[in-house]
Symmetry: C2
Subunit: 369 residues, 2 copies
């Protein structure tokens, strides 16, 4: 990130990620004195009417942006999606003993690992052979309707595998649970298909420190007696403003500013933008005659996390990353577990960022044939 202050920066971080300049500017303007209150949002009691108005507005904007039905609760929790990996079985295992997971990458694998601490996990499929580059034909999935729920990760941040046509009919009658951390806000959600949707805010919705958890009302209240208090959705639902204890107030506030900004643009804008960014980048990669490669089966390519190799050559990739950084294209390194490069293009990434990346990729290829 050592670049001159004048240079335009495009931040392709997989999270925490880019936020709109307007949102950061508003946070900056309001830092010392929020709306004439004389105090910073960071200094407000979470029980004050000022902070309650901030949290309520953030929830309202989230609901409107994504059209969340009234019979779903929306929570702003701490601990990220990883905390929900544990909280989900504690809350909705009920009197069942088994849970159904499909593993299509690193995050769904970690989610399942947590569930194993409480229940028998039935694997719908595990793609060790393909190294997480596809989703198998749903006809071959091992679906066990005796399980308390079916869990999947809608978009795998590290492997760049996204469900673009989840086969809802296959899990009909089961409670469907989905981690949407890295693609929430990029398309509509058909809520009535889901029991629980959760998403760390720090990719598409706000800064780190908030995990938005949406739960269908009837699933609340089935928690195990030994459920740790921070996991207990019922305790939070029944607490004033749904905060049992002090939440991450400032991250909720900035998430709220960003949700208001997103609402003003509309969900369709973000969906179109996600498609446009991803198409441009995959088209360029696929036309590069193997210079750049993405290993994922086209149908399941992520629109937000685009891993790619440069001639499958680690030395060349190191050079690519260093030169990209010099021209303000930052955080393009792939996750340490898979290597290579990755362009994460979340909601706040303008199309110009992807254009600049493609221009750089072209130039780099010419200079390093």
């Amino acid at each position: 990130m050592e670049t001159s202050q004048q240079q335009k920066i495009y931040n392709f971080s997989a999270g925490p990620c880019i936020l709109p300049q307007e949102v950061l500017k508003q946070a900056q303007d309001e830092m010392m004195n929020w709306h004439g209150s004389g105090v910073s949002v960071m200094e407000m009691s979470h029980r004050s009417k000022e902070f309650i108005s901030i949290a309520e507005q953030a929830e309202k904007d989230f609901r409107e942006l994504l059209n969340v039905p009234k019979n779903y609760q929306v929570f702003f929790f701490q601990g990220g999606a990883s905390m929900q990996f544990s909280a989900i079985p504690y809350n909705i295992l009920g009197d069942k003993t088994k849970v159904n997971y499909i593993t299509t990458g690193s995050w769904s694998e970690q989610a399942q690992k947590e569930a194993k601490k409480l229940a028998q996990t039935v694997e719908a499929w595990q793609d060790h052979a393909s190294k997480f580059t596809t989703v198998p034909n749903p006809e071959t999935w091992n679906i066990d309707k005796e399980c308390a729920y079916f869990h999947y990760c809608d978009n795998e941040t590290i492997h760049g595998v996204e469900f673009n046509d989840f086969p809802f009919e296959k899990v009909e009658g089961m409670t469907l649970v989905s981690d949407m951390s890295s693609n929430i806000g990029t398309r509509p959600i058909d809520w009535e298909k889901y029991g629980v949707v959760y998403a760390g805010a720090q990719k598409n919705l706000g800064p780190a420190g908030v995990c938005i958890v949406v739960v269908r009302e009837d699933l609340i209240g089935k928690q195990r007696p030994d459920t740790p208090i921070l996991f207990d959705w019922k305790v939070f639902r029944d607490a004033p403003t749904k905060f049992h204890n002090t939440p991450a107030c400032y991250p909720i506030y900035v998430t709220g500013l960003n949700l208001a900004h997103m609402k003003s643009q509309g969900l369709q804008h973000y969906q179109d933008l996600a498609n446009k960014r991803a198409s441009a980048l995959y088209d360029y990669i696929d036309a590069s005659e193997g210079y750049y490669t993405n290993p994922v089966e086209p149908k399941y390519r992520s629109r937000t996390n685009i891993p790619f190799r440069v001639k499958k050559d680690e030395k060349l990739e190191t050079k690519f990353l260093a030169e990209a950084q010099k021209v303000g294209l930052i955080e393009l390194k792939g996750h340490r577990s898979v290597g290579g490069c990755r362009a994460s293009c979340y909601n706040a990434m303008p199309f110009e960022g992807v254009e600049a990346l493609i221009e750089f990729m072209k130039k780099f290829r010419e200079e390093n044939p």
Copy 2:
């Protein structure tokens, strides 16, 4: 908090709380572009060298401010002290079945309630008769050295009861665990007496979203096999930069700014200030001939959370709180569970704030005899 922008505000919130103006100003100045990086701290990957430098500096300043020995790990967790209520028994129960708790107010009561989900809790004493206005003679405590640890809350935020001379000799040989959320940074800590010290940052150290947990190295690695991943100190200790998953980056950054500020003042400054603020306020209350009252036995009165009644008259208290707010003395309402008033005076509260409060209390008494 509806006050004019010109008016000086003194924020007596029990948390989240007042922060130094210098710290907020620095955060404001750096909001759009941290140290020439071209990005906001909120946009940085938690694995970037920039954010790692921020987190490492925050830990270094905390260690220096409080003189933390090398054989203790310092963590910046999410979930507040409430998450540690659960995490502590998961991590250090080991092969024991019992844990020893002393209940001196609402927070130690909640901590014990969480421990009961995993272990048999032995109560050292429970002051239901006194409604949490004292600490009993340690000679009468029920101490069970077969327990995995002894837990106490060093300062009860709601009831205003503080341990000012913890009887370490009584629990010798046991692992001592203390919640210091509401008085950390107000005096030195004799680390070698402790196994675990934890504190939500949002009172004395920074904004909400961070809980600082200090653990003696040898206590890490005894976690139960079913420990949820976010509770598992070993997983975090062994992760890069001690972050298994995305932490609350921005709250850690602001906590770091504040710790650097505190270090420049020195711990003695805060200890003297805490004593001076508390003495002035208790002296005034005690000299008010029963107009203002604090129910706590003088020896155990909190230096940071000072609950008081106004003629034990709820109507008069409502008037007191409304008039105080008008002159910029905000968040003086007592916790909903105990009522009355409460002045929380954390590290960033200048002595002038307490002087202004005492002046107001005098005037109010004159006008409402």
